[in-house]
Amino acid sequence: MGEGKDVRQGTLALMILKTLESMGSLHGYGIARRIEQTSGDLLSVNYGTLYPALLKLEQEGYIASEWGISENNRRARYYRLTRTGKKQVERETREWNETAAIVARFLNPEES
């Protein structure tokens, strides 16, 4: 453990939303694994921090949850995007891209 980078504050929420957007409905453990896989195992999610983040998104109304049965027959809580959640993904993605572009100009001034 500890070889990967910790997830930055604030970006975890976007990753969760993005994961749910592509995967549809998923349980907490699945979301965590998926984030690690998508990052090519460069990121290490402290699974404990995932649940407060999920709860926060749910309180804000971007995701909803219900109990379901996993592929290997375990009871698990499944999360999915709500309609406002989908809009939030779009908004956050756009903002993130803008920020990234701005930061990129600072990092590579000669290209602009």
Binding site: H27, G28, N46, Y51, P52, A76
Partner: protein
């Protein structure tokens, strides 16, 4: 955090148990899924579980993070703190009771007094835009705030440019006859603009018209809601009915709301039009018959602007009517100030005093908290070692003290609600507007703020003390090692308490000296066993002077012949300390003064021969009025010694003649009597008109006789309790003439007491506060010295074991107490010297830095403090060295 999530989290503070279980299940399923994955990749189940838990970062931590997000941690820990605080308070009932009692008294007293200040001084008067209302007085050589003559009022009303309306009113009481026993009702004669100026609308009917406010207008009257209710059962048909007031039949045209409040509270019950009065004296510009004027400023006009405007009007009038108005001006005062102004300095002194009491209360509770914080030092050190942040511990202590403060505030509010009512019930005349005093929103906010402030105030010091405790020491030795610095704070509190108590004692002492000084002032008459009352004569007596004079004699005889009555006299003019009636005078041979400003003025009394003995006034030379002085004999007058010295310095006034203006008398001076303090025990020597003359009642000229019949007073000297004499006097007068009404009966002692009511009120309250302060600060010093003894018990034991005498031990302990007390008394004296100067306005006959008062209260406080210290000192003396040493 958006609103939705905030609300969810607030809700999450409460219903968390089910969600907790669900989350527990979710975590378990997470771990299970993770183990499944590891096992699938070939790990042993045990190792898989271990790895899964590591990756989760600990179940407890995950749960804590989730919980934090689920509710609002700030509220939750606050709730936790409060729960804990309540538990701690319940576990320590002694501490809680004393602290609560102290705070309840402190906050209760403050709330009570603030509700008085609020009701009397802060709240606007109960009229729309009451800040626009002002009272206009006539300023003359005899008074800055004098009554206004009717003709001047009419000119003011016509010529001013700054008032939207101006009205005159004159207090007048009436005999209400008709059904049932005749009663005396209090009323006002008012000009037509009176209610419109105050913006008061009738609940029924209409107000006076301008036509009714003139000589020859229809006899109409307005009645108050109270009278409407009691006498007419709130019936709307009252408007078609008549009312007989002092023998005149009036038609009721309207009802004024019961809530209408004027100078005399809700007392006014009838109003009649002022302008119908056709008495020549009333319509004499030089005479002001108790007329007062109120005006409403035009919107946006300042009082200063109105003053200038009225000054201009006064100038015009002085030029037009020099004999009456030359040298006369105006005094403008905001209505509220006129109604409550005199009481303000008293209330502010009391409010400051009660604030000091709360300060002492807080210091006391802070000391108790400190003592407890010491006992709990171990607990705090332990919690700190277990990871509680300092901030969290401070918050914990503060929530405890604020909880105490708020609980004390709630109890104090209840105390104040009851206390205010009972104080005002005892002394209803001490403050104006007392009917309006209640606990309103502003008082509530004041109390809540005070409670929180007090809570923070006394909680902060002990709370800061745990800010950086020495962990190891505290854990090792309990509280003992932090005692040194804590003791300093405790000592400081005790010094503050004693200093404050001294300030309050000085205040109370000065008030007591003031009242003692006032009581020892000779009023110029003997108040003991004497009573006074007013008589409204039979309304249809007519204006025949002979008839009125005969009636006056009958009244005198009816009262005089009652058993128990030593002497009695009718008095026309004003009773001492009730009012005044001034006339201009000049010596025989001198020209008549051309204007009021150039005149010499004197108070005028129309008296009977018995007046001297009834009042107990000293005869200094010559003789007093006798039975032989009648309307048929030469005019005579008796002057007081002030008059004699002022106008006949170095001469014998007896045998000289003076001219009495207005009455047009030219009597010979037949005697000189002692001066009576007409203006009250304290104010008389600064009054503008102090000279006094006595004219035989019967020699008052014929044309003034109807005015005399309008209202006379009577003074009666009794053999025994004057109060017991009132019913028989009443009965005698009723059997003399059933249509006469007797009212306003008081003993002369009550008259004097009434003039001192506000001071007495302040003295009682200041005395109570000072006593409270002394009790609280002795508890404070007792606590500190007891603590000191507890701390040094081993040392004392050792000393005794080594041969110290018990007396030495007592001296050691008392010495500490004495040092603290003296520091407190010293600093308190300095503070008192500065603050007592603020009392100048309300004290009399004593200097604000009166050495006797300071010395007396200082000694008193030192004695009480030392007595409080003596209890623990005796305990120290009895320390058994063996037991004390074994404790080590």
């Amino acid at each position: 955090m958006n609103l939705r999530s905030f609300l969810l989290r607030v809700a999450g503070v409460f219903r968390s148990e089910r969600r907790d279980r669900e989350f527990q299940a979710e975590l378990e399923s997470h771990i299970q899924l993770h183990i499944d994955d590891f096992v699938r990749s070939g790990m042993s189940p045990a190792e898989a579980r271990r790895q899964a838990l590591i990756k989760l970062g600990g179940i407890e931590q995950a749960r804590e993070g989730w919980r934090r997000q689920h509710g609002l941690p700030a509220i939750e820990s606050l709730a936790q703190d409060l729960r804990y605080a309540i538990r701690a308070m319940r576990k320590n009932p002694g501490f809680t009771c004393i602290a609560l009692l102290t705070l309840t008294l402190g906050i209760g007293a403050n709330t009570a007094l603030f509700s008085v200040v609020n009701g009397v001084l802060l709240n606007p008067l109960p009229y729309p835009h009451s800040e626009q209302l002002a009272i206009l007085y006539q300023k003359s050589p005899i008074a800055d705030q004098g009554a206004v003559s009717y003709l001047n009022f009419l000119d003011w009303q016509r010529q001013n440019e700054t008032f939207s309306s101006m009205a005159a009113f004159r207090w007048q009481s009436f005999n209400l006859t008709g059904e049932g026993e005749p009663t005396r009702v209090s009323g006002h004669e008012v000009s037509a603009d009176f209610f419109p100026a105050l913006d008061v609308k009738p609940v029924l009917g209409r107000l006076f018209t301008a036509d009714e406010d003139r000589v020859g207008g229809a006899p109409v009257a307005l009645i108050g809601g109270g009278l409407w209710k009691t006498r007419y059962g709130s019936s709307p048909t009252v408007l078609s009915r008549g009312i007989t007031l002092s023998g005149v039949r009036y038609t009721i045209i309207g009802v004024i709301p019961e809530s209408f409040l004027f100078y005399n509270g809700y007392g006014t019950q009838v109003w009649t039009p002022l302008g119908q009065w056709n008495d020549p004296t009333f319509r004499d510009r030089r005479v002001s018959m108790g007329l007062n004027v109120i005006g409403r400023l035009k919107t946006g006009v300042t009082l200063e602007r109105a003053r200038q405007d009225m000054q201009r009007v006064a100038h015009t009038l002085a030029e037009a009517y020099p004999d009456a108005d030359k040298g006369a001006g105006l005094t403008l005062i905001p209505f509220k100030q006129d109604m409550v102004g005199d009481i303000a300095p008293f209330l502010f002194v009391l409010l400051a005093a009660v604030g000091f009491v709360l300060m002492i209360a807080c210091a006391n509770v802070a000391n108790l908290m400190l003592a407890r914080a010491n006992v709990r030092a171990r607990e705090f050190a332990l919690r700190s070692a277990l990871g509680a942040s300092h901030g969290r511990l401070v918050r914990q202590l503060l929530s405890e003290s604020i909880l105490l403060g708020v609980a004390g505030g709630a109890l104090g509010l209840a105390l104040a609600a009851g206390g205010t009512r009972s104080i005002l019930a005892i002394l209803p005349d001490a403050v104006p507007r007392s009917q309006e005093i209640s606990i309103d929103l502003r008082v509530l906010i004041f109390t809540v703020a005070l409670s929180l402030l007090a809570g923070i105030g006394f909680g902060l010091v002990p709370a800061l003390r745990v800010w950086r405790p020495n962990l190891t020491d505290a854990l090792k030795e309990g509280g003992r090692s932090v005692a040194g610095s804590r003791g300093r704070a405790q000592n400081a509190f005790v010094v503050i308490e004693i200093a404050t108590a001294l300030v309050l004692l000085v205040g109370a002492g000065l008030m007591i000296r003031t009242l003692a000084a006032l009581w020892s002032v000779d009023p110029g008459f003997v108040a003991h066993n004497a009573l006074s009352f007013e008589i409204a004569m039979q309304p249809d007596l007519g204006s025949d002077p002979t008839h009125i004079r005969a009636e006056l004699r009958k009244i005198h005889d009816a009262v005089r012949n009652q058993p128990g009555v030593v002497s009695a006299s009718v008095l026309a003019g004003a009773l001492p300390m009730h009012g005044d009636s001034e006339v201009p005078v000049w010596k025989e041979g001198e020209p008549k003064p051309a204007t009021a400003a150039e005149s010499k003025w004197t108070l005028f009394y129309g008296a009977e021969p018995d007046y001297l003995t009834a009042m107990g006034i000293h005869l200094l030379s010559g003789r007093f009025i006798s039975e032989a002085d009648s309307e048929h004999s030469p005019e005579v007058v008796v002057v007081d010694d002030y008059f004699a010295h002022k106008y006949f310095a170095g001469e014998n006034p007896i045998g000289k003649r003076i001219n009495v203006g207005m009455l047009d008398l030219k009597p010979e001076i037949i005697g000189v009597v002692g001066h009576v303090k007409q203006w009250g025990l304290d104010n008389d020597s600064t009054a503008k008109v102090q000279a006094q003359i006595y004219v035989p009642c019967t020699q008052i000229p014929d044309r003034f006789m109807p005015l005399v019949g309008n209202g006379i007073s009577m003074v009666v000297r009794t053999a025994k309790d004057p109060d017991a004499q009132i019913p028989s006097v009443r009965k005698a007068l009723a059997s003399n003439n059933a249509q006469q009404v007797v009212y306003g009966a008081e003993t002369l002692e009550e008259v004097i007491a009434g003039s001192l009511a506000a001071r007495q009120f302040s003295m009682v309250l200041l005395g109570t506060f000072a006593a409270l302060a002394v009790v609280l600060s002795s508890i404070g010093i007792y606590g500190v010295i007891s603590y000191l003894v507890g701390q040094r018990i081993q040392e004392i034991g050792t000393r005794i074991a080594l041969g110290a005498q018990r007396g030495d031990v007592v001296r050691l302990i008392l010495g500490r107490g004495f040092a603290l007390t003296m520091t407190g008394v010293g600093s308190g004296s300095v503070l008192a010297l500065i603050l007592s100067r603020q009392m100048k306005k309300i004290i009399y006959g004593v200097s604000p830095s009166d050495p006797a008062t300071f010395a007396a209260v200082g000694l008193l406080l030192i004695t009480i403090a030392l007595l409080a210290c003596f209890v623990p000192a005796r305990r120290a003396m009895r320390v058994d060295p063996m037991i004390a040493l074994r404790c080590e």
